[in-house]
Symmetry: C2
C-alpha cells in the first residue's frame, strides 16, 4: 500500500508596517529593492495570517486557498517560493535517505486572515511570510528566519520583514542574485514593547495603481527618486536604527513622518503621478501635527503605505494624547468596542483642526488598535485535517 500520510504544519504570521519605506525594485523578477527599509511588526492578536501547509502523495496538484477562495499559484512569485523551499527539502532528503520524500509531493496550503484582505493592510506581507514559514516547518528545514526571508522576499518584497517580530530591517544587499537582500532583526519587540499604533482605515476606494506597477513607474520616470534612494534613505536607515536602539520616540517619529512623505512625494513625481493619500489621509497628517504641537514634543507619528490608511505610531504612555484624540473624533466608527478600545480615554481635540476633523469623520470607516508584536508563531491549530481536508 502506497504512503498516503498527510504531513502538516501551521503558522501564524504578522503584518509589518514600514517606517522607512520600500519603494522601487532594482530587479523586478527577484524583488530586489532600490533601497533598504525598516519596519515595525504588528501584534498578531489584531492582524495576522494563519496558514496550514500540508503535503501528501494523494494530492493531485499544488493548491492555495485564502479565506475560502482558491488562489492562482502559477505566478512566478509564488512558484519561486515553492521551488526554493522544495529544493532545500530535497537537499535534506538527499543527505538523509530515511526522511520521507516530501519534496516530491504536492502541497495543499490553506490560509486565513483575521482582517479584511486588500484593505491596504499589508496582507501580502503576512501571507507570504506565513506561506514560507509554514512550508519550512512542514519540511523541517533548519533555515534561520533571515534565510527564509530571502525566499519570502521573492513572493512579496515586504514579506521578508514579517519573518521577524519587533523592529526589522530589510537590507537591500548588493549581489545580483539577491542572496544578501534579506531581513534582520534590529531589536526584538521586548526591547521596546511600549510601541503602539492606531490604524485609521479609510473608506474603501479602489486603489489607482498597484504597488508593483507604481514602483516600476517611479523608478522609470521620477527625477527626484534617485536622490531618495542614493542619499536620503541610506542616512535615514542609520538614524532609524539608532532611534530604535535608544528607544528615542521623537527621533523615530520625525524620521517616520519624513520618510512617509518622501515616499509619497516620489509617487507624485511619477509620470503619470500616483496618489495614494486622499483628503482623509491629509486630515490625519494635520491632526497628528497638531497633537504634536499641542504636546510640545513628538508623541505621534503617521505613516502611509500605498493607500489612504493612516498608521499612527505612539508610545503606550501617550495613549491618551494620541489614541484619545482619535477616539474623540472617530468614536462612532468600528474598532473601539473591544477591551483595548474601551480603555482609551477620550481627549480634547487640539484647536485648528475643524476642517480636518470633518474630513476624518467623512473618510475613515474603522480603526484598529494595535502595537509592536512577535514574529511568526508555530501553532497546532490546523486548517487542514489529518485526511487532507480543509477544516
Amino acid at each position: 500500500m502506497a504512503d498516503t500520510k498527510v504531513h502538516r504544519a501551521s503558522t501564524f504570521a504578522p503584518v509589518n508596517i514600514a517606517v522607512i519605506k520600500y519603494w522601487g525594485k532594482r530587479d523586478p523578477s527577484l524583488n530586489l529593492p532600490t533601497n533598504s527599509s525598516l519596519s515595525v511588526t504588528l501584534s498578531q492578536s489584531d492582524l495576522r495570517t494563519h496558514t496550514t501547509a500540508s503535503c501528501s502523495p494523494s494530492f493531485p496538484s499544488d493548491s492555495l486557498t485564502l479565506n475560502g477562495a482558491s488562489q492562482d499559484i502559477s505566478g512566478a512569485r509564488t512558484q519561486a517560493c515553492l521551488s526554493e523551499l522544495r529544493s532545500l527539502r530535497r537537499s535534506l532528503e538527499q543527505s538523509d535517505p530515511s526522511l520521507p520524500r516530501l519534496s516530491e509531493q504536492k502541497l495543499k496550503i490553506v490560509s486565513r486572515n483575521n482582517f479584511p484582505t486588500a484593505a491596504g493592510l499589508a496582507s501580502s506581507a503576512a501571507g507570504f511570510a506565513a506561506l514560507v514559514r509554514s512550508i519550512a516547518d512542514l519540511y523541517a528545514l533548519p533555515s534561520s528566519p533571515t534565510e527564509l526571508s530571502r525566499i519570502a522576499r521573492q513572493g512579496s518584497g515586504s514579506a521578508c520583514r514579517s519573518l521577524f517580530g519587533g523592529y526589522v530591517a530589510w537590507e537591500m544587499g548588493s549581489e545580483a542574485d539577491g542572496s544578501d537582500s534579506v531581513a534582520v532583526e534590529v531589536a526584538p519587540a521586548s526591547q521596546w514593547p511600549g510601541m503602539r499604533a492606531v490604524i485609521l482605515v479609510a473608506s474603501a476606494e479602489k486603489k489607482d495603481v498597484s504597488s508593483t506597477a507604481g514602483m516600476q513607474a517611479t523608478v522609470k520616470t521620477s527625477s527626484l527618486f534617485k536622490q531618495r534612494v542614493e542619499t536620503v534613505v541610506p542616512a535615514r536607515m542609520k538614524e532609524m536604527e539608532k532611534a530604535v536602539q535608544k528607544k528615542d520616540f521623537e527621533a523615530f517619529a520625525g524620521l517616520t513622518m519624513r520618510d512617509s512623505n518622501s515616499f509619497h512625494a516620489c509617487c507624485l513625481d511619477t509620470e503619470p503621478p500616483i496618489f495614494y493619500m486622499n483628503d482623509a489621509s491629509r486630515a490625519a497628517v494635520r491632526v497628528v501635527d497638531r497633537i504634536n504641537e499641542a504636546a510640545g514634543r513628538k508623541v505621534a507619528a503617521y505613516t502611509f503605505d500605498a493607500g489612504p490608511n493612516a498608521v499612527v505610531y505612539y508610545e503606550e504612555k501617550d495613549e491618551g494624547l494620541v489614541a484619545g484624540v482619535f477616539k474623540s473624533i472617530l468614536g462612532k466608527v468600528e474598532g473601539w468596542e473591544g477591551e483595548k478600545g474601551a480603555a482609551v480615554k477620550e481627549a480634547q481635540v487640539p484647536g485648528g483642526t475643524e476642517a480636518a476633523v470633518e474630513k476624518l469623520r467623512m473618510g475613515i470607516s474603522r480603526v484598529i488598535l494595535t502595537g509592536v508584536g512577535e514574529g511568526p508563531i508555530k501553532t497546532e491549530e490546523m486548517l487542514i485535517d489529518e485526511k487532507g481536508e480543509t477544516i
Copy 2:
C-alpha cells in the same frame, strides 16, 4: 501759488501661470529664486489688474487702494518697489532740471482686479506688475520691461514675469544683489497664439500655508528639493524654451505636468508637509490623463500653483477634446455663460473617470476660459480723476 497738478498714468497688467515653477528663495529679502522659471501670460480680457498711479504735491502720504480697500504699503516689498522707481525718476530729474520733481511727491495708487483676489489666481503677480508699470509710466522712465521686471520681482517674485506677454522666462541670475534676476521674453504671444487654458477654480478653502512661508520651509527641510533646483529644473528650462520655440505642444505638456508634480512633490517632502492639491485637484489630473490617453497624444496639460485650482492648457484646435470634456462635466458651474463658453462644444467624457467626475462636480465652483495674451497695456482709463480723487 504752489504746483498742485495731479500727474497720472494707468496700466492694465496680466496674470501669468508658470509651467516651470518658481518655488524657493535663495535670498528672501530680495526675492531671489533658487531656480529659473517659465510662464504663459494670460489674456487680460479674462484676468487683469487695472492700476492708476498718480502723484501730486497735495497728497499727504503714499497710499494704495485695491478693490476699494486701503492696503498696507509699509511692508519691505512694496517699499522696495516704490523707492527703486523714485530713485530712477530722481536720476532723470537730476539730468534734466526742466522736469517736474515727481520723485518728491507722494503717490496715490488705485487698483482693481476683474477677478476675485486671493482665489489663488496669481493676483499678486498682476498687482505688482501693474503697480511698477503704472509708476514707471507716470515717471516717464525709459526703462525696458526687463529692467522693470527686476523691480517688480522685489514686490512679488512671479510679478516679474507679468511685465511681458506671451511666453516668459525668469532667469534666476547669480549676482548677490539680484541685478541679473530678471524676466525675458521667450516668445511673444503672436508666435504661438493658439495656446488656451481652462482654469478650474476650486471651492474656496483657506490655504494652509502661504507661498512665502511654504517656500522657506521647503528650502529648509526638503531632502529632495536640492535635486529639483540643481538638476531637474535647469534641464527642463532648456527643454521648455525649445518646446515653445518649436510650438511643440506635446513636449510643452509633458514638461508642464511633470514640473507641477515635481513642485508639489517637494511641498509634500517639506516638514511638516504642505498640501496644496486636494481631491478635486487630483480628479482634474486623472481626467486630463484620460483625455490624453483617449486622444492618443498629449492634448491637455494640467498645472497647479500654491492652491487647489487646476489650470489646464490646450491648443485652440483641440478645444473640443479638452474644454469640451470639462464642459460636459462642469457645464452647470459659473463661467460658461459668455460667448467663449457658449462656443465650446460638449464632448464625451473618457471612461474610467467616474469617481473623478464626481469629485470635480463636488469640488469645482467655477471655470475661467482664457488663453495666452499680451503684456501690460497703457490705458487712458483712469481710476483717479484730475483732482486726485478716486473715481
